[in-house]
Symmetry: C2
Amino acid sequence: MRKRVIVENVKPDINSGRYFIKRVINEAVDVEAAVLADGHDAIRASVQYKKASGRKWNEVFMTARGNDEWTASFTPTEKGFYEYRVIGWIDHLLNWHRGFLKKEAVGQYLSVELQEGEVLLRKTAANYPKKDQSDLLRYADLLGNTQAYKDAVAAVLTDEFAALVHQFPLKEFITESNTFKVRVERTKALFSTWYEFFPRSASQDPNRAGTFKDCEALIPRVAEMGFDVLYFPPIHPVGKLNRKGKNNAVTAEPGEPGSPWAIGSDEGGHKSVSPELGTMEDYENVIQLAKEHGIEIALDLAFQCAPDHPYVKEHPEWFIWRPDNTIMYAENPPKKYQDIVPLNFECDEWESLWEELKSVIIFWVEKGINIFRVDNPHTKPIPFWEWAIAEVHKQYPDVLFLSEAFTRPKIMASLAKAGFNQSYSYFTWRTSKHEMQEYLTELTRTESREFFRPNFWPNTPDILPYHLQGASSNTFVQRVLMAATLSSNYGLYGMAYEVMDNQGNTNGKEEYLDSEKYEVKHYNWNLRNRVTDAIAKINQVRKAHPALQSTWNIHFTGTDNDQLMSYVKIADGDIVWCIANFDANHTQAGFVEVPKDLLGIEGSVNLRLHDLLTGQYFQWNNDWNYVQLNPDYYPLHVLHVEFL
Amino acid sequence: MRKRVIVENVKPDINSGRYFIKRVINEAVDVEAAVLADGHDAIRASVQYKKASGRKWNEVFMTARGNDEWTASFTPTEKGFYEYRVIGWIDHLLNWHRGFLKKEAVGQYLSVELQEGEVLLRKTAANYPKKDQSDLLRYADLLGNTQAYKDAVAAVLTDEFAALVHQFPLKEFITESNTFKVRVERTKALFSTWYEFFPRSASQDPNRAGTFKDCEALIPRVAEMGFDVLYFPPIHPVGKLNRKGKNNAVTAEPGEPGSPWAIGSDEGGHKSVSPELGTMEDYENVIQLAKEHGIEIALDLAFQCAPDHPYVKEHPEWFIWRPDNTIMYAENPPKKYQDIVPLNFECDEWESLWEELKSVIIFWVEKGINIFRVDNPHTKPIPFWEWAIAEVHKQYPDVLFLSEAFTRPKIMASLAKAGFNQSYSYFTWRTSKHEMQEYLTELTRTESREFFRPNFWPNTPDILPYHLQGASSNTFVQRVLMAATLSSNYGLYGMAYEVMDNQGNTNGKEEYLDSEKYEVKHYNWNLRNRVTDAIAKINQVRKAHPALQSTWNIHFTGTDNDQLMSYVKIADGDIVWCIANFDANHTQAGFVEVPKDLLGIEGSVNLRLHDLLTGQYFQWNNDWNYVQLNPDYYPLHVLHVEFL
């Protein structure tokens, strides 16, 4: 009860410590808190942090920034969970020191104050290990020497004495905040470049569907293009019962391959590979070859079944059976999806179901998979994901989960809070400068930053957004360059993007005509064009520039043209400045503001900018500088900034 | 683990349930929460509430307002603590019903759905007491009758069936939020009108100081003026040692009375009354007489001591002793306050000290005091107040504590969170329309509303704000009318205000010259002038108009003149509309917006307004209407609104 200090409103915090925040290795945690007490006595506060498994707290003193708000930072250097908390206390030694200085300044006689100081210094020393006591005790002796009034007063006024008081606080009646957690992940959680293709479309022989062997042949190209994650839609046997045909037709014609997301047949389920793609060994070879090219294979985790999935017979208790003894298909009334039956996460046998699903993940991790793209996680219970991801991370902390939830904001946030390492985002639909800036600000400057790590995709097999339907190569180049420079995690549904497939489905939705979800495609895998050039170039730039390897460091600067968006990213002394032209059809020009505070420019501007896409150089000497972007050439400047 | 629903961000909430929110009897608690789950299944949510001492939860169904946010209200009707929480669940009965309606709308054949409905209705019925089951079972029978397909389908489509599904939810796997607390207080916590005078200045004989007997003579006047709380500065014996003189002189001349806040002498301490004012019985007579006039006497609680307070000898362990064996005076280096010694709340004997201070409060409660104005609570530990107030309220829930903390925002907030019923506010220094609107918005539209109940004082014995120094009666009338209409709790350091004492201290601070804190004053207690008229009138209006008995219901409307502030308050069908002229020297005129949404006006405006101060009537027929306020007459309109 004698704790006079109140510590509250500690940030970062998600739901009062209910969820952990996220960082990657060597990424700082900036902590703030309200720390206050009655009266005028001197308050001090610290952030304490440690590995969750460790016992010893490290400590960083906090700084008051006004309005009783305090801040400090720490940087986790290892993977796994860390804990942090804020402590505050009235520091009677510091309080005495401050009072002493004020009284001395007005010429008061301070002999009793010196005696008080002696007492406080000895009390303080007693709280520290022997090795730290000597300076404190030396000063205590001096202050206690009534023959040395002048020397003692002079000593209290020194910087050395102030530093000592700072270094060795007198902690009494400490108030501790709750303890918060941060999950520290491998660097790839924040910086990854994804490519997606359907293995069955990997064949370079137009007369047959692709196999894992064909995938192997494409890996060098994916690596050359600069990608480091290669994601395949589900590779499991495709259900034969109620299989969907081309363009989502209710019935498949003989020989049609069906949707790979209708998983399971007499050929196996979630722990099998489709024999049409090859053997498990073939798949493992793909994983291995990819690794040799610096690429990780991501597995699609779609926890749902075709009606002929082995689970249906082996574990009928995991499904919903209707009063007429038929199985419940997936539905969104009045629509019914007959090629899919949902798992019943609420069933009485939920524990065996959950364990089985966890075992699916572990199965693939043990085959060499370290990244999962989770299909529609928002149609399975969020508590399931929280449990499953935590369970997997206990054994395999390097595993990354990407949440493919294109749904309402709070659901997407909840999945991220539950533990997903990355999340698909609304980037796909942000098409104006205003909404793009607003969205990036929400992602990076609100609580979201602590748990929701976005991944920007210009397209997916499910989504050909309206602005890409009928679009020219200018738009394709523009969207991928924006994705790649705004977000350090980005991805492409690759070849469809590279060939600039812009044909929307006739249903008027944001879907591909003749969607690859329901048929095998044949591409010219030797394709080179403006789009592939832009992709390869920007991926190279991303690898060379730390500034583009984070999403959190974005800083928008002013422009006088609503079609021009200007953003600067800085990391480790590397400065990259992007200027995007949102108008895919016309050259746009205008003036762009130099963020002088951010760049630490006090006097006049003197910058050299190197366009990393075109190789051009610019010299800027004004607070606002002229730019002009012709989308037929490059709709973005990606400028490396040097001070002259 | 099978709980699929997530309930979070429940509001109102102060620091994740760490503190209770506050209401008075019959004041609603509007609860909101994010309630969400995976998939498309129907979600339902309720607010549950009960008296903290009770066992049975009451329940109000929540309504979805979009973005996964839900709301509902409940109204506590008794004093004391209530608890509330939010629960959410997937309602499979409702989900089935919604799906049924959609499928029926597109003409699907629904015989299996009817069977499913039967199962769900029987399952639901089993969760309710026998008396509530009959309708559910009747419908179950009908749906289960395969001979009655058409009747069964028709039944499911009825409003009655929908109402039944609403009324009897099928609750499974319920997610519960944390439980939150609300302290429900007597009405006076929200609606009170304070008057302050120094008993020693109550004498109508200029040759002697006032006594409790003189106070009795003044009570009828205070009642006539419309006040219902009468607050006296400390009535205890004033310290004789180091007593301060006139204008805070370091030494008092013989016969000077000293500051009443330097409490305690050989004549007694915090449980005594000053013999100069009379006896304990005299004081009790004042309390009794006041009660008969509808007035409660508020006691000043100043937990500090004069150096000759009996505690110093009896309990030296409660004070700080310096190395030279002298007592520590209150100080704010380099300043020292030699007429005051602080209690050491951190001392080893803190428990006996805290108990003693609690016993001081209980002592006066038992003498008939139910309201305490707490002097400088921010110089005593906040945890002490939290404990002391809770302890007193356990025995005496009607006791009100007003926090006199004029300090930094977070400290004031923390004291309010700790349990103070009312708090002095920054009103005293808000002098422009912009800052006044901003402040009221902060008080009433942010988290602050849940715990910080402001009390608006135009002046106090400590504060003669700069805008009252040298001010004319216009300003005095203006400030009191604003205080009385903006805030349902307001108060005056009365006679100094009524005589329009506008003489600032020569030290340039916001203090009175010849402050009553250090000397006896003699007033003409029969005074009547524009200020006293305005006070008496507005207090009468406040009593007659429920709209002015809350602070939370303020709604600002537009004006086209920055000197005119327009605000409307509504309660129980009573509408009061105030328009204030901030310019004390000139007539200001302009147009004022009718808040049509707030007033529920859909077509054209047709209002009659009755000025409750002047008796004038106005008729307004436009969306914006002309007003003109001459501060020499009344600087505010206080208009009662009637619809014609």
